[in-house]
């Protein structure tokens, strides 16, 4: 056996180095939030099956990462749509504009509740935001001073709560769910404490630092981005509480129960009615400059906002998305159809 090295290998090797440049696309590209991902993909699949367009490619990059990619510029090498589990920030709008992405269409798709749930083997908790803050904050006010969190058991916070060790499994700081939880539950709880409320009016930065710090002494366990993992750990450890999106509670209603927050149970109806305190809006953003360049964007937006998808009984509701109220849906649908541009005020 002998090996011969033909002359063309050198040419081929060089040619491989000069691979094809970015080419025109006929497929919508979507990036962004992992919370919106399950809904966005469901719409994408339906859209691909019922229209003549190709099924859009949906990437799960997180809200911040998605907006960064989205704002990188105009042109087919950049994504057309980004999903976000929070509203775009004015700094991001400026960043976008700096890269030539000036015309952005905002579409609000629905709500997502963040639940604190535990195993059905133990009793259901009823918490207030203040109690959540006291249980999880790094520093809490005791007798007019901020001290390291002294509470070890729930009953230390309020005698009506069970005498069980505080153990909460939640997402890490990179997660959008964590951001929303900190903003809605922790800051909401901090505002209910007179000392921190006073701090908020005098020194906003100090308030933010105090309200957003989560304790690091082992009571709050960072359980990773995977919500299914938290669900499994809760089954194994009935004393622990977990923080995750409503759709996971909805899918595991036979094993888990959501804690009441401010006396309201996290149910589909309560979140939709805006009564459950720890819920946030979900959005996606469309690059208007790409409409007409990449085929199907308007049709995709129409599918996402249609009653069959985002309505009270749409397929997204089956996936755990909590729909907007009917009249707001109508406004959103009209605005999306007309590609009304985003204006932050």
């Amino acid at each position: 056996m002998t090996l011969r090295i033909p002359r063309w290998t050198l040419v081929a090797a060089c040619a491989l180095g000069l691979a094809a440049p970015a080419m025109a696309r006929d497929q919508i590209r979507i990036v962004g939030s992992s919370t919106v991902f399950p809904f966005s993909t469901a719409v994408a699949e339906q859209f691909g099956k019922t229209t003549s367009f190709k099924t859009p490619v949906v990437e799960s990059t997180g809200s911040g990462g998605g907006l960064k990619l989205f704002c990188a510029g105009v042109g087919t090498q950049h994504p057309d749509i980004t999903n976000s589990s929070r509203r775009i920030k004015s700094s991001e709008v400026e960043g976008c504009a700096g890269n030539g992405v000036t015309d952005i269409v905002e579409v609000k798709v629905g709500f997502d509740g963040i639940v604190l749930a535990n195993s059905k083997k133990s009793e259901r908790l009823s918490l207030t935001k203040e109690q959540i803050f006291r249980a999880l904050a790094k520093q809490v006010p005791v007798e007019g001073k901020l001290v390291d969190n002294p509470y070890q058991k729930w009953s230390d916070i309020d005698p009506s709560l069970p005498a069980v060790k505080i153990e909460v499994l939640g997402p890490p700081p990179t997660s959008g769910t964590r951001d929303a939880f900190v903003e809605l539950a922790m800051e909401g709880g901090a505002e209910e404490l007179p000392m921190l409320a006073a701090l908020k009016s005098s020194d906003k930065a100090a308030f933010k630092a105090a309200a957003q710090g989560i304790r690091e002494d082992g009571a709050y366990v960072e359980a990773g981005e995977n919500d299914n993992l938290i669900v499994q750990k809760l089954e194994a450890n009935p004393d622990a509480l977990g923080i995750f999106g409503f759709s996971f509670l909805d899918q595991n209603a036979d094993k888990l129960q959501g804690s009441l927050v401010g006396g309201v149970e996290p149910t589909f109806e309560n979140i939709a009615a805006g009564q459950y305190g720890v819920s946030r809006s979900l959005f996606f953003y469309v690059k208007k400059a790409h409409v007409g360049v990449v085929r199907g964007i308007q049709e995709y937006v129409a599918e996402f906002t249609s009653e069959a998808a985002a309505g009270d009984e749409g397929y997204l509701a089956d996936k755990g998305l909590i729909p907007l109220p009917a009249d707001e849906r109508k406004i959103v649908r009209e605005a999306a159809k007309g590609l009304v541009l985003l204006s932050l005020n």
Binding site: A20, F37, E45, E59, E313
Partner: protein
């Protein structure tokens, strides 16, 4: 002498017994270690197989659909265009209502429709398009049940629990039980899992798209890393002078082999996507990143295989007048090839199981269409597993384990090829 010789005295005998005991203990420790490792492996495989094998099967129900010609093809053209556009979902729903007339009211009907997979309408459409003569008849068709109903038949729903705690309510369970009693429900091998792309509906989701993505990616990786790696190894081993520069290169190749894979992903993002403007999510870029990752492995394996070829062969070849290139290509490389291939296959197996670098270049994506080439968007097997593990629907737990089984099969097969190559073709001197 009375106290015996050096080797037969009591002290010596005690010492000997002690040494034997130490020997036995040592063997026992070794056996324990192997037993523990094997036990862990068996436990892992059994749990995955236990969870994953049900994913290869899915329950299907036979329903009678009235294929009303006036609804499907009102003008009787038989044009596939017209046939393809008909409202099959409506026809399936109508068939369900006819079967269970007790489902009254909007909510109740929705619950009834939820028993059947969203894919039922497409399954029906494909059958009608395949055989147009069925239009106008009452057609008996087997359609997949929804994931929740499938889980019920697989024993995952406790019918005795409170109604609000289950995904299926009492009516839905009653309907499913009636279907089962009529013998209409069958647990069949789910071909879809092996020939379909990804889907958000667990009962429709398949592994094929990710598998093809993996194959394209590996093809690019192999095409790049094998020739480059072998060429580098031959040069370093056979031609390069020994000096500070080659020492430096050698140390860095070894360092590169230990670099965490995510770093290669970041490099790919910076160079291939941002600078060269190659498409995101493409197997081409994934393959290039993984080629960089496997290159050190291939070089190191190739070098040791080349080094193992005895110098006498080189000297003999040179002695009969072969040029250095002829020595390498006629003698050294053919003899070293089994070792090189083994190293390459092991490198490829590692590339097949890699996710971290692909996160950076957009291959962690929901992609329904099966990729058509190295530049069409694709995902790979381990990424598909990662995405399914993160999905809220409970039926994806089984799918995740099923996909792991598929991935493991490929990894074991690749390693097996490496073992066979080594044992069949490797020569020892």
């Amino acid at each position: 002498m009375t106290e015996g010789s050096l080797h037969t005295s009591d002290a010596a005998a005690r010492k000997l017994r002690k040494r034997y005991a130490a020997e036995r203990r040592f063997r026992l420790y070794g056996a324990c270690a192997i037993g523990l490792a094997m036990g862990a492996l068996v436990l892992l495989l059994v749990t995955i197989a236990w969870r994953g094998v049900p994913a290869f099967f899915g329950h299907e129900v036979t329903i009678d659909v009235d294929l009303d010609a006036a609804l499907i093809d009102p003008e009787g053209t038989g044009d596939p265009e017209v046939l393809g556009r008909a409202d099959y979902s409506g026809l399936v729903k109508q068939a369900l209502r006819a079967e269970f007339p007790d489902a009254q009211g909007r909510r109740e009907k929705r619950r009834l429709y939820a028993l059947i997979s969203n894919g039922a309408a497409y399954a029906l459409r494909d059958q009608v398009l395949a055989d147009r003569t069925v239009v106008g008849t009452t057609f008996r068709v087997r359609v997949p049940l929804s994931a929740d109903a499938d889980i019920y038949f697989k024993g995952g729903v406790d019918a005795a629990s409170a109604e609000g705690d289950r995904r299926l309510n009492d009516d839905q369970i009653r309907w499913l039980d009636r279907w089962a009693a009529l013998g209409k429900v069958e647990n069949r091998f789910a071909r879809r899992f092996f020939v379909g792309g990804d889907s958000r509906e667990p009962e429709l989701a398949g592994i094929y798209g990710a598998l093809v993505g993996s194959l394209w990616t590996l093809a690019v990786t192999l095409l790049l890393s094998f020739p480059l790696g072998v060429a580098a190894a031959v040069y370093l081993e056979e031609f390069a002078p020994t000096n500070r520069l080659t020492d430096f290169v050698e140390v860095n190749i070894n360092n590169l082999a230990a670099v965490p894979s995510i770093v290669f992903g970041l490099l790919g993002l910076a160079v291939f996507l941002n600078f060269l403007e190659l498409p995101r999510s493409a197997p081409l870029v994934g393959g290039m990143v993984l080629a960089l990752m496997t290159l050190p492995t291939v070089i190191i394996a190739s070098r040791s295989a080349i080094m193992a070829v005895p110098p006498s062969i080189r000297e003999a070849a040179l002695g009969v007048g072969a040029s250095p290139l002829q020595v390498v290509s006629h003698h050294v490389l053919p003899l070293a090839l089994p070792g090189i291939l083994t190293g390459t296959i092991i490198g490829m197996a590692r590339a097949l199981g890699e996710t971290a670098p692909l996160l950076m270049i957009g291959m962690v994506a929901f992609i329904v269409d099966v990729p058509e080439g190295p530049t069409s968007p694709a995902t790979v097997l381990p990424v598909q597993i990662f995405l399914w593990a993160d999905s809220p629907e409970r039926a994806f737990v089984a799918k995740t384990s099923g996909a792991i089984l598929v991935l493991l099969t490929f990894l074991v097969a690749m390693n097996l090829v490496a073992v066979v190559l080594r044992s069949r073709f490797e020569r020892r001197w």
